[in-house]
């Protein structure tokens, strides 16, 4: 006898954000990445449509990272000093569909690069590769307010995703993004109320909520992962039940957090019981990503190509076309 199932009736869906613009749309990207659009909780296919897969953005920097562990530097050892080659390697060798340029070198404490130089870098990266681009500031509010508008203008028409707007500092970035036709990352400190408040503030300035991607601020596996996990589940439930101000896709900085964890970095000589660091680091990044994919992540910013390859395969398996038999 066929078992009667229990399907939830959701009243609403997550908005779809388009990242990248092709020639027809006034840009120069080879394709557009669509994220969001889910009408149910993660991967409950028989219950609602899930039109777009979670996508991974390869994280690249404007300057060579100093504190990355060897495991992480190794795959990029020959290009870490050259963002253009780094970008090209991600696309050519590792088949990246999306890049995330982190402008760490603009930070007053780590290079203090000039806004013009960063804008020029953005322009050159857009010429070097044809995948859509995420651009993230250095996190210093004052500096980001100088650098990000310059980068936004340099990438005008390319429909990038630029971040991050925060509760105390969003106006400059929103204005730039509005003027240049991009999307925005709205970052909140593991707080669902601030996430919603910030989305309201941003949309009050005239940027449609359909152009916002939420960065809920994640913790790595073992370092507060569960907080973001539950915030994302709560936000998704609210969005599917009709809260438009929560119905944005999520971006999660998986690589940045996972590779801060001691378990990802420490050598086996220090912790023999933990096993070899090469596999362990990749596993730490991949498992952090897995858990967040299951709580609703749409864009995962990741670092290690091996972890990215594994997670991409996992995503592809989840998104295959074969139907889940509703009963058998």
């Amino acid at each position: 006898m066929a078992q009667e199932l229990m399907l939830e009736k959701w009243s609403s869906a997550i908005s779809v954000v388009n990242i990248g613009a092709t020639k027809e749309e006034g840009g120069s990207r080879s394709k557009v990445i669509k994220v969001g659009g889910q009408a149910t909780l993660p991967f409950l296919f028989p219950e609602g449509s899930i039109p777009n897969k979670p996508v991974i953005a390869f994280e690249i920097w404007d300057s060579a990272p100093m504190d990355w562990p060897d495991t992480l530097k190794q795959p990029f050892a020959d290009v870490l000093n050259d963002p253009l080659k780094w970008a090209k390697k991600c696309v050519d060798d590792f088949k990246a569909e999306l890049l995330c340029l982190k402008l760490q070198g603009a930070h007053p404490d780590s290079g203090d690069k000039k806004p013009d130089d960063e804008a020029e870098l953005v322009e050159r990266i857009l010429k070097t590769v044809d995948v859509p681009l995420v651009i993230l500031g250095c996190g210093d509010d004052a500096k980001d307010n100088l650098v990000l508008p310059a980068c936004s203008e340099a990438a005008k028409g390319e429909c990038c995703l630029i971040g991050s707007a925060v509760q105390d500092n969003y106006k400059t970035l929103v204005a730039a993004v509005l003027a240049d036709g991009h999307n925005i990352v709205a970052e909140s400190p593991i707080d669902i109320n601030i996430a919603k408040q910030l989305n309201i503030l941003i949309s009050d300035m005239g940027l449609s909520v359909e152009r916002i991607v939420i960065d809920p601020t994640i913790g790595a596996l073992g370092y507060g992962l569960e907080y973001a996990y539950s915030i994302m589940e709560r936000a998704r439930l609210a969005a599917l039940s009709g809260d438009k101000m929560m119905a944005c896709p999520f971006i999660c900085k998986v690589g940045q957090e996972a590779w801060r964890a001691k378990e990802a970095k420490a050598k086996m000589t220090e912790f023999p019981a933990w096993g070899p660091e090469a596999e362990r680091g990749i596993a730490w990044e991949a498992i952090t990503a897995t858990a967040l994919i299951q709580s609703g992540a749409d864009i995962l910013v990741m670092r290690h190509p091996a972890a990215i390859e594994k997670v991409n395969k996992y995503i592809d398996n989840l998104m295959t076309n074969d139907k889940i038999p509703m009963s058998k």
């Binding site: 439930l237 858990a291 058998k328």
Partner: protein, 442 residues
């Protein structure tokens, strides 16, 4: 699913006889709903009402115990679909499958490796729970391997065998250890049910999918085998997520008793990363037991850590006692570091202080379990609070140098804290990872 006060009221005699001690039947019903009074206080309850009310007070997902003694595994008794609604109660068991076709030496080596898979994280001991012995050879060999495993390890056992004849020969020797029988299917359900009852062992219901679960669980419980675990077989991850979600929903939201049991999943992936990513998915989505094939340290460390995260009570962050801790042979010359009483903050600082090999004092300030930045933002980690903790712990008396090291993220409070505490404030690194080099250069 628990009944509401009004639902219960409909089942009561509605005579307001007051023999229960309450003025009205409705008042009694309200107390029953809150579990503030026991059902037997009402002497006039019909048998039908009694059985309905008793059933409604049973947990919607049965608590199942596997193994005995300290290392026994308890799973089930879950009450929510999302951890933020309350919490996930019983961490899923992690175990490994050993086949009876493997040579004794190889099995012993595996057992040795598995027994060393122990990790301490933020004050908790993380361990695996189970070993499943899979029968592929004859009864004699299966018995040998079960014996080998049960004598050489303290883990709870799963007997993966669906031949009632073989199980009947194996069970007498290990029944006292309360192994989980894996399992009963449409062909053997009656014989397995009898064995489970005879040996008081929990049983896995091996169904093909969702449709045949109810028939099997009903057949077993009608025979008196009531400690059940569900296994819907090896399938794609997305199909599994769907089934796991349906089983949890049917048990919790439809009070469907046939589905009110924990779920077992065997991972069949070949690639070691795929294996743990699949397992991680099921840790998050409602598995009660997960069985793996490979046993690499880095795989198990990441899965046990995820289990710890997902099963942490969202209402109660892990905290430690706020007090002054001495690390190593700390003297009055040793540095004094300050952090919060959020377990993750404290143990991260502790780990780095230990790694530095420099004896030190760590004062954990009562921030109600909040981390440094969160507590600072919520005014639980202020100069006043720190001074209060310093006084309570007599921390200033423990050192002769009158210097305090504070987390780099709260550097902004230095001046204020210096004034209020009368100590010299040294701003430490923002990240705990910077502590060893910081202490060495102090």
């Amino acid at each position: 699913m628990a009944l509401s006060g009004l639902d219960i009221y409909k089942l009561l005699p509605k005579t307001n006889c007051r023999e229960c001690g309450f003025v009205t039947c409705l008042a009694f019903a309200m107390q029953l709903a809150k579990k503030g009074v026991s059902l037997d206080k009402c002497p006039h309850l019909s048998d039908e009402a009694k059985s309905k009310l008793q059933a409604s007070s049973l947990p919607p997902i049965k608590l199942i115990t596997i193994g005995e003694g300290e290392k026994r595994l308890e799973i089930g008794n879950e009450t929510v679909l999302f951890r933020h609604e309350e919490k996930f109660h019983h961490p899923c068991g992690l175990g490994f499958i050993i086949e009876d076709s493997e040579a004794d030496e190889q099995i012993k080596k595996k057992l040795e490796k598995i027994s060393q898979l122990k990790f301490e994280r933020i004050g908790q001991q993380l361990e695996v729970d189970l070993i499943a012995v899979k029968q592929t050879k004859d009864s004699k060999r299966f018995q040998e391997v079960v014996k080998l495993v049960s004598q050489n390890s303290g883990f709870s056992l799963i007997l993966m065998c669906n031949d009632p004849g073989i199980l009947k020969e194996v069970l007498p020797a290990v029944a006292a250890k309360k192994p989980l029988i894996h399992g009963a299917n449409a062909e053997n359900v009656n014989d397995i049910g009898k064995l489970a009852k005879e040996f008081k062992a929990p049983v896995v219901v091996c169904s093909k999918g969702l449709d045949d679960i109810a028939d099997l669980t009903k057949a077993l419980s009608s025979q008196g085998a009531e400690d059940l675990v569900l296994d819907t077989g090896v399938k794609s991850v997305k199909e599994k997520i769907w089934e796991l979600t349906q089983i949890r929903r049917l048990a919790l939201k439809k009070s469907n008793r046939s589905f009110g049991y924990p779920i077992l999943i065997s991972i069949d992936a070949k690639d070691p990363y795929e294996e743990i990513m699949e397992a991680a998915t099921y840790i998050a989505k409602y598995a009660g037991i997960i069985l793996l094939k490979s046993i690499e340290n880095w795989q198990v460390l990441s899965l046990l850590t995820l289990r710890q995260n997902i099963y942490t009570d969202p209402q109660k962050p892990l905290q430690i006692e706020p007090k002054l801790y001495q690390i190593g042979q700390a003297s009055d010359k040793s540095p004094l570091l300050i952090t919060t009483n959020f377990s993750l903050s404290y143990y991260t600082v502790l780990g780095e202080v230990e790694a530095s090999k420099i004896p030190a004092h760590i004062l954990s300030v009562d921030t109600e379990g909040m981390s440094v930045l969160t507590a600072w933002a919520a005014e639980k980690f202020t100069p006043e609070k720190i001074v209060d903790s310093l006084n309570k712990a007599h921390a200033k008396e423990a050192v002769s140098h009158n210097k305090l090291i504070i987390p780099g993220y709260v550097a902004v409070m230095s001046g204020d804290l210096e004034e209020k505490s009368g100590c010299q404030i040294i701003v430490g690194p923002k990240e705990a990872a910077g502590i060893p080099s910081f202490l060495k250069n102090l």
